[in-house]
């Protein structure tokens, strides 16, 4: 059966929350081929990775194809460290076999023998779906690479690719310092390709229906559809599938979100705020780049008019500071310092004016000095906050705290800090 090209959803077709069985999956999507020659199709599709970095999937596969070895590994990254992101969970709860198909196609392309699906330990629903899917496949299809599940504990940085690979090797979720990039990561000495779960599902569709079909949706630079986790000022947090290049107004409408938001958090908790006044901007990296934002990991946090951007940023930054692996000084000390400055500002205390100046300076000091991009993401968020909530910050710095900050109305979902007492708040 051929799916209509411009028909969405592609990835989330079926019943949300009811994972398709192997048989239903084949009825819906037809049989997948696993040819190494699918690489050219992948290249022509122009698929961009959906994990957050926005790296072209074909280039990553090319790098791994050039590696020697007969025991290469594919890691499907469904860790979903972003607390606001639920897209991988939604995908695995609807079409788990699509993700596994994509991983098998990638395995054929780079000639890998082993596929590891990495799921956060507390995501029991997804673990159950994938376990069942793998068992079904073992009954039907005994060729292909071996499939297994690994469950690292959930942490923000645990999904960072070098931290994930390090956990798979040594059971510690610690990002690694890689002076040269791109680096080939290794599991047990075997070259490893880490791909986001959604990216794998896109690969599965490209493998079936081809690059041309894939590109019929989306823009020429950002082809295809994408999953967006919408949270904040929405009826209920949802995951929707939209074509890349859809105007933000349409994306918000599809998610039943506040049609006139104050600001939008794009990408994730290491993403950027953009003002809510121009909703004609297209949801894809080129359009968002002009506002200093990107699609990132597909998180769209909606801040309503009754919220305070300073308070929201403070909450996110404090949580992100707590999630630092505390390996690198600038991240371990710098992020709590940013959180303390923002706390001073949101409360409009005596030192708020100094805190605002210090916040600007500290951003410039911290950026680019960690082993991974965790501190850079937080700095990006703080800088966009300095930009978008410029007037609010000036008011807070004068001690005129906005009513929204005092009202206690909060929009973004930030998990409770587990180890707040360990933090180095000023």
């Amino acid at each position: 059966m051929m799916m209509d090209a411009d028909q969405l959803p592609r990835l989330l077709s079926g019943t949300p929350g009811v994972p398709r069985s192997y048989q239903q999956h084949h009825d819906a999507f037809a049989v997948a081929e696993r040819r190494p020659s699918l690489f050219s199709e992948l290249e022509a599709s122009g698929l961009i990775g959906r994990g957050g970095a926005g790296f072209p999937t074909a280039r990553k596969a090319q790098l791994l194809r050039a590696q020697h070895g007969r025991h290469k590994v594919i890691v499907v990254n469904a860790m979903e460290g972003e607390p606001a992101s639920h897209k991988d969970a939604a995908l695995l709860a609807t079409n788990p076999h699509l993700v596994l198909d994509g991983a098998e196609i990638l395995a054929a392309i780079i000639s890998a023998r082993r596929v590891i699906v990495a799921l956060a330990r507390n995501n029991t629903a997804a673990i159950a779906h994938v376990t069942r899917a793998i068992r079904e496949r073992e009954r039907h299809d005994r060729h292909g690479p071996t499939l297994e599940i690994q469950t690292p504990p959930w942490r923000y940085v645990a999904g960072e690719e070098s931290a994930l690979v390090h956990w798979l090797n040594e059971r510690h979720s610690l990002p690694q310092y890689r002076p040269q990039r791109p680096t080939v990561l290794e599991i047990g000495g075997h070259a490893t390709l880490v791909e986001n779960a959604e990216t794998c599902a896109h690969v599965a569709l490209i493998g079936r229906f081809g690059a041309e079909w894939y590109r019929e949706v989306g823009t020429s630079a950002s082809p295809g559809s994408t999953l967006v986790s919408v949270t904040g000022a929405v009826e209920r947090p949802t995951v929707i599938e939209v074509a890349l290049g859809t105007p933000l107004r349409t994306v918000l409408a599809l998610a039943n979100a506040d049609p006139e938001p104050q600001a939008l958090l794009m990408g994730g908790y290491g993403g950027s705020w953009i003002p809510g006044d121009d909703l004609e901007v297209r949801y894809e990296n080129e359009g968002l780049a002009r506002l200093g934002a990107s699609v990132g990991a597909g998180v769209l946090g909606v801040l309503g008019r009754s919220g305070c951007g300073v308070v929201e940023t403070e909450r996110v930054v404090k949580w992100m500071a707590n999630e630092s692996a505390r390996q690198c000084g600038p991240c371990a000390f710098g992020l709590p310092a940013l959180g303390a400055d923002l706390a001073e500002l949101s409360a409009g205390g005596r030192d708020a004016k100094v805190a605002l100046e210090r916040l600007r300076e500290r951003c410039g000091v911290i950026v680019g000095r960690g082993a991974c991009r965790h501190p850079d993401g937080v700095v990006r968020l703080v800088r966009s906050c300095l930009d978008v909530f410029h007037d609010d910050l000036a008011n807070h710095a004068r001690g005129e705290v906005c009513p929204a900050a005092l009202s206690g109305r909060r929009f973004l979902s930030v998990p409770r800090l587990e180890r707040e007492d360990e933090l180095v708040w000023g």
């Binding site: 690198c328 000084g329 600038p330 000091v365």
Partner: protein, 77 residues
């Protein structure tokens, strides 16, 4: 012998670095410090072309108790 091209830069492995601050004392013209005592390395790539600076970079590398500093050759083009 193969002729090597490209400029040398001083790099720090932020995971190894524990902020002892020896590099700042040994090579103050190359390494400054943030408020927490961790090194900020001058990102001017031409800096190590000067032999005296290269010497202090080597001193800083040898003097680092965590062996966190290293020289890296950036290939041009």
């Amino acid at each position: 012998m193969k002729h090597r091209t490209g400029v040398l830069v001083l790099r720090v492995d932020p995971v190894l670095c524990d902020g002892f601050g020896h590099c700042h004392e040994l090579a103050p013209e190359l390494v400054s410090m943030d408020e927490w005592g961790y090194p900020i390395i001058d990102d001017d790539h031409a800096a190590l072309a000067d032999p005296s600076r290269l010497t202090s970079a080597r001193l800083a590398i040898r003097g680092c108790p965590r062996q966190a500093l290293h020289l890296e050759r950036l290939n041009e083009g």
